[in-house]
Point group: C2
Chain length 235, copies 2
């Protein structure tokens, strides 16, 4: 029985790291007071230790201790033993490269499916999809593959941004990029705006947070779904 | 003797496809009235034929016929025989995948170095760098590698966008992404704003267009260089 929060972002405008979602995290991790942190995505290139400290500061507000996976001699065992897991955001290419390198993708999927509570934000959410082909990140490292853990039967696009009708910029909009994705790939993509998250529990997948999400299915016009909707049948 | 225009974008705001740069293209391709078009990047998922037609409409204004590489039985020979080459923008992952698949990276580098005039826009410019690790595009397909032709001794970031100080968005800025790139990679990156291009001729690399460019070197603070500057010694 999966129990996950898969969030668009760790931080929303005008609020501290994870602050907007702390109550839900206290509930997600109510079974434990120690969570394993996966800092591999290294936002802004900070060190694993620095990143773990930032995350720890947020988690101590709900009386949970974080331990970085980089401090374990055997990261596979660390995942198997964890009572809760949090993968932070940053660069998805780097995160996925490290997960492949340490052979952690399969075990991560296994423990989440067996019920270990899991929190992902941004890059840590991307890896819950079928593959990382809808990340926004720059390909700063060549990973051994783009396949990810597939806890969700679709992909997400975190930090989803609507096209700006006043923009003079000619780079592709997010919608155009996802349209290009669907010329080669068939799975749906949920454009998850900042402040939105997916809650997996009781075999359901619910959209949470104040905003609607934008859903992209191959050969269909993109459409909006309101907060509270279920994505259990989207695949 | 290389002769290239490596442009940030095909199109600037308020102007038609390639319109802002047509005079320079007439000069670049003054040796020929037929140019080979590489449409593999397929912007917005359009077909190779559709894309070739769009590019053809711009080139006919300077009396040049375009022929899409997809219409040749032997694309390697098409590149060897071409009197001029244009690689259009779209998705860099798709473009690079197709170049690998058709074994075109080496021959493309060879003919450009031997003097075949080359135009790249956006994705078609990305491939002129040492690798494609500073593209903005979504990784919609897994290419056999990220290494590209390396006509330039550095990378470029096309459609470069300055951070917006009024933004409430928490996704990474372009500058942050390039900073993350430099935690793992040492080559310089030129942030090439829309309307800017690099002109390669007489063994020099000059910044052209009205705007300055932003240069990112590893372990240095990013800095601006004015139009007209040479990048011949940047590596």
């Amino acid at each position: 029985m999966k129990k996950c929060i898969i969030a668009s972002t760790s931080t929303i405008h005008g609020s501290g790291y994870l602050e907007y979602i702390l109550n839900d995290l206290a509930n997600l991790f109510s079974n434990t007071n120690e969570v394993l942190f996966i800092p591999y995505a290294k936002p802004n290139g900070i060190s694993h230790d620095e990143y773990t400290q930032i995350a720890q500061q947020a988690f101590q507000k709900i009386n949970i201790a974080l331990k970085g996976i980089h401090s374990f001699a055997d990261p596979i065992k660390a995942i198997k033993d964890a009572k809760g897991i949090f993968t932070g955001g940053g660069n998805t290419f780097l995160l996925v490269s490290q997960l492949y390198k340490n052979d952690l993708l399969t075990v991560l999927k296994e423990v989440i499916e067996a019920g270990t509570p899991y929190l992902g934000t941004s890059a840590g959410s991307n890896i819950c999809g079928l593959d990382m082909k809808t990340t926004n990140d720059m390909p700063i490292i060549y990973p051994p593959g783009f396949k990810t853990i597939g806890i969700l039967p679709f992909n997400i696009n975190p930090h989803y941004l609507d096209p700006d009708p006043t923009s003079t910029h000619k780079g592709e909009t997010r919608e155009t990029r996802i349209k290009e994705f669907h010329t080669l790939n068939s799975q749906p993509v949920i454009g998850l705006r900042e402040g939105s998250w997916l809650e997996l529990s009781n075999n359901d997948i619910l959209l949470k947070g104040a905003l609607s999400a934008r859903v992209f299915e191959q050969h269909k016009k993109p459409y909006e779904v309101p907060s509270g909707s279920s994505f259990a049948n989207l695949n």
